[in-house]
């Protein structure tokens, strides 16, 4: 409940409760007074009416007696009555009496109006049979027994004579006995008069209009114009009980629910006749209507007051609670983190405590805001850092997650693809996978708890295992190939990766060995290495063989060639005839060919095995070229070949002289074989060009077709393979030339055109400095 509500309630309590109490008290007192007053008024009304009614009844009784006395002169007796002439007389008498009554002062009763006048006069015999009447229809009817025989006081008959329409209306009948001279009752004279005089409408005359007054007979029937129908005692128990009590002599003054269902105040009194009760009723609603009016007015006033008080309270409470509420909302906003709220500040001079509070709060808010702004900056920086690290963390987490997945996938893959063995630090097996069991042919039960030595083949030496243990105990991964022995003593090879699984303290807790079966690979490797060994051996043998073969083949050539030479030396060893000389020359030339063949084969083999070695020496180009010129002079002269040598002077070379010579000899020899027998022309030229010395051998031979130029450097290739070829080469010469040129970091080139001759060029590199220096030293000498 907020302060606003509380204040309103407080105001209401202070202002309205006393009013309500006062009103309650006054209304109750007013009601009581009013009730009493009305009761008294009703009572007095009743009393006056009772007087009227009793007076009326007395008058009618007196009138009836008067009528009865008028029959005295007829000297009637019980017999005379039966006489029709007497009956006529009686008839005439009552008719005249009625007329007289109506015009007589006797009729001057009440308000002198026709309603209370005598309507009918009738005469009945002792048995109650009506024998004369002013209204002829009644003659022959019989009166009720109790009525005709009753005492004086009860000779009032109210409406309700049976089956007579005339009697059914509101009439009251008064009777008086007719007696003979002996004072014996011989009949009744009755007057019937309208009951209007005591009917409710008449009873109400002179009463306050809220009073209801009526008569009730001893059968609880209300005496009204249609009284017998109107009163139903069964439906009206309460009043009936009250009426019973009334007939027993009590005066009733009580509140009850009347026949119409209304709450009424009723007073009941018994009339002197004893068979009528008068009832006065006043509706309580009507009694209290002034009270209700008052209540309504008070309520209206109360409402206005209430509204006023509420407004006033609201205004006051607002002036107190609004700033508080505003503060509270502001605080709420601040709590939510919104520091941008504004407070309506009042001038500082305000004496209102609430304004001062608001101002103070505003100052506090400003302070907090500025502090918070500072903090915000700080928090922003920190938050960003936190976010960054969070992001990094998330990334790490993802990475770790992925790594875990990879690891788990890896483990699965590992288990599927490799033999896995895990031992504790004592070297006892604590885990093996199915593949390990399969390869080692041990069951898992046989392996668990055992040392991995169970599968040791004792193939590796102690150093091998020592190194392995040192590695993994140091926390590192060991890799190697291990030969193991299965349960059935068969051997198998594994490529092993043994890693320590480190505990939190960084020390190995377990060792995991991941083994891949490489037995087949090892078998292949062994075969391969054996094959390699064989190849090496065979190569070595080949080399030894060729070396030996060269020696053995050359050795017999020494005496052959030697003796041929000696035989040719006719000056020393005597003359031979021409045929003999020719033979000797043929033997020698074939021996020479054989020698060359052996030498070429050996060179080619060396080139193939890349075993050719070179002896680099320093020599003079002049000498070298002179030697070539000199050595070939004889054969060129013999073959009538125009042979020329051309070279720059004073050049020192630094290369393998013998091999270079071999190359040039080879090329020259080829040219000699191919130039025309008459005008053959061969020239050997040396030329310095940039960093190279180029040796060229030109000839005017038939030339080499373009399509065959590439092939001539291949082994055993000869352009002319016919049996009648004039060139007796081995087919290895150019191969060796190319090999030597390249071996000396140079190259061999060919220029040739069919019909125009052939030129071979050998390019060899020479360092320029070296060349110049050699030149200078030479010139100094």
């Amino acid at each position: 409940m907020n302060i606003n509500t509380k204040l309103v309630i407080l105001f209401l309590c202070i202002a309205l409760i006393p009013i309500m109490i006062l009103e309650g008290i006054s209304i109750s007192e007013i009601s009581d007074d009013l009730f009493l007053q009305k009761q008294v008024a009703l009572d007095s009304s009743l009393i006056s009416k009772i007087t009227d009614i009793e007076h009326y009844f007395d008058t009618r009784h007196t009138q009836t007696k008067l009528f009865a006395s008028t029959f005295f002169p007829f000297q009637l007796d019980s017999n005379k009555i039966k006489n029709p002439s007497t009956l006529d007389k009686i008839q005439i008498h009552i008719d005249s009496m009625l007329v007289e009554t109506r015009s007589n002062a006797l009729n001057n009763f009440g308000d002198n109006d026709s309603k209370s006048s005598i309507e009918i006069i009738f005469f009945s015999d002792i048995n109650g049979n009506i024998i004369a009447s002013t209204q002829r229809e009644l003659i022959g009817h019989k009166l009720p027994n109790d009525f005709s025989t009753g005492s004086d006081r009860q000779k009032i008959l109210f409406a309700g004579l049976q089956k007579n329409r005339i009697f059914s209306s509101n009439y009251v009948t008064f009777s008086e006995d007719i007696k003979d001279l002996d004072n014996n009752k011989i009949g009744l004279v009755s007057i019937q008069t309208s009951l209007n005089a005591i009917e409710p409408e008449n009873l109400r005359d002179g009463l306050e209009n809220n009073h209801e007054i009526f008569l009730v007979d001893n059968a609880s029937r209300q005496i009204t114009s249609d009284s017998s129908l109107k009163y139903n005692t069964q439906n009206w128990n309460l009043e009936s009980r009250l009426i019973d009590r009334c007939f027993m002599g009590d005066i009733i003054s009580e509140q009850y629910i009347n026949k119409d269902g209304r709450e009424v105040l009723g007073i009941m009194k018994l009339l002197e006749e004893g068979n009528l009760c008068i009832v006065g009723e006043i509706e309580l609603e009507k009694v209290f209507s002034p009270v209700y009016d008052l209540q309504f007015k008070l309520f209206t006033v109360f409402l206005f007051l209430f509204a006023g008080v509420v407004l006033l309270a609201f205004f006051f409470s607002k002036s107190i609670s609004y700033p508080i509420k505003k503060l509270s909302i502001t605080m709420n906003e601040i709590r939510k983190g919104n520091f941008n709220v504004k407070l309506e500040t009042k001038p500082h001079s305000s004496s209102n405590e609430l304004d001062q509070l608001t101002n103070g709060f505003e100052k506090l808010l400003q302070y907090v805001k500025s502090t918070q702004d500072n903090l915000k900056g700080l928090v922003k920086v920190q938050t960003r850092k936190l976010e960054d690290s969070n992001r990094a963390l998330t990334e790490n987490m993802n990475l770790i997650k992925k790594q875990q997945e990879d690891l788990s996938n890896f483990k699965e893959a590992l288990d599927k693809s490799a033999n896995v063995l895990i031992t504790d630090t004592d070297g006892s097996i604590i885990y093996v996978n199915d593949d390990f069991c399969k390869v080692s042919k041990f069951s898992r039960e046989e392996l668990l708890g055992e040392n991995p030595k169970i599968v040791s083949s004792y193939y590796h030496n102690k150093e091998f295992f020592k190194n392995m243990w040192e590695t993994i105990l140091a926390g590192k991964t060991w890799k190697g190939d291990i030969k193991n022995k299965a349960k059935d003593n068969s051997y198998y090879w594994s490529k092993a990766t043994i890693s320590p699984l480190l505990g939190d303290d960084g020390k190995p807790e377990q060792f995991i060995a991941i083994l891949t079966d490489i037995t087949n690979q090892k078998i292949l490797e062994e075969k391969l290495s054996e094959a390699l060994k064989n190849v090496k051996e065979s190569e070595l043998q080949k080399e030894e063989f060729s070396s030996m073969m060269t020696h053995e083949l050359n050795t017999p050539l020494v005496p052959i060639k030697g003796y041929c030479e000696m035989l040719k030396d006719t000056d020393t060893f005597g003359h031979l005839n021409d045929d003999q000389v020719d033979f000797i020359i043929k033997i020698e030339s074939n021996a020479t060919l054989l020698e060359r063949l052996i030498s070429d084969l050996l060179d080619v083999q060396k080139l193939d095995m890349k075993k050719m070695s070179f002896l680099i020496t320093e020599f003079s180009l002049d000498e070298f070229m002179d030697e070539i010129k000199e050595n070939n002079r004889y054969i060129m002269k013999n073959k009538k070949i125009d042979f020329s040598v051309k070279y720059p002077k004073n050049i020192m070379l630094n290369t393998d002289k013998q091999r270079l010579r071999q190359v040039l000899d080879n090329l020259i020899r080829n040219s000699v074989d191919f130039v025309p027998s008459n005008q053959g022309k061969i020239s050997v030229e040396a030329e310095l060009k940039e960093q190279n010395i180029i040796f060229a051998v030109h000839d005017n031979g038939p030339g080499i077709p373009k399509e065959k130029q590439l092939s001539i450097f291949k082994k055993f290739y000869q352009i002319d393979t016919s049996a009648t070829r004039k060139h007796g080469g081995t087919g290895l010469g150019l191969v060796i030339c190319k090999g030597i040129a390249e071996g000396l970091n140079g190259k061999i080139l060919l220029e040739s055109e069919v019909g125009k001759g052939t030129s071979f060029f050998i390019h060899l590199p020479i360092p320029e400095k070296k060349m110049i220096v050699e030149e200078m030293t030479k010139s100094k000498k």
Partner: protein, 118 residues
């Protein structure tokens, strides 16, 4: 001028001996390398013709022995070999003091003559 010819092949020593004799050189022939070594040790020759490729005790062994005994530098030697003359072993030999040259088998007799006389 006195020449020592060391070669396990009798045909070759015979040829060389006859040729040198005909050309006017005194020569001693031995087919046993060890005997050849002993002769070199005993007596200084004007020139020694030494075959490299000999069974059991090769020309190289003789040269090494001479070298270790410090005789090599005083003795002119021409070696000859049937195997390739550019092998590194031969090249090493040629660098040594006393080794005059190397002749490739089959030997050209005029080349031999040149080698001896130079």
């Amino acid at each position: 001028m006195k020449v020592l010819i060391v070669d396990d092949n009798r045909d070759i020593t015979g040829l060389l001996s006859k040729f040198l004799k005909a050309k006017g050189f005194d020569n001693v022939v031995t087919n046993d390398p060890r005997d050849g070594l002993e002769r070199i040790k005993e007596q200084k020759f004007d020139i020694v013709l030494l075959d490299i490729s000999m069974p059991e005790f090769s020309g190289i062994d003789i040269i090494q022995t001479l070298e270790t005994e410090n005789i090599l530098k005083d003795q002119k030697i021409v070696i000859f070999s049937a195997t390739a003359f550019t092998t590194s072993q031969i090249n090493d030999l040629l660098k040594k003091e006393g080794i005059q040259g190397c002749l490739k088998k089959p030997i050209q007799l005029n080349e031999l003559l040149t080698a001896i006389t130079s």
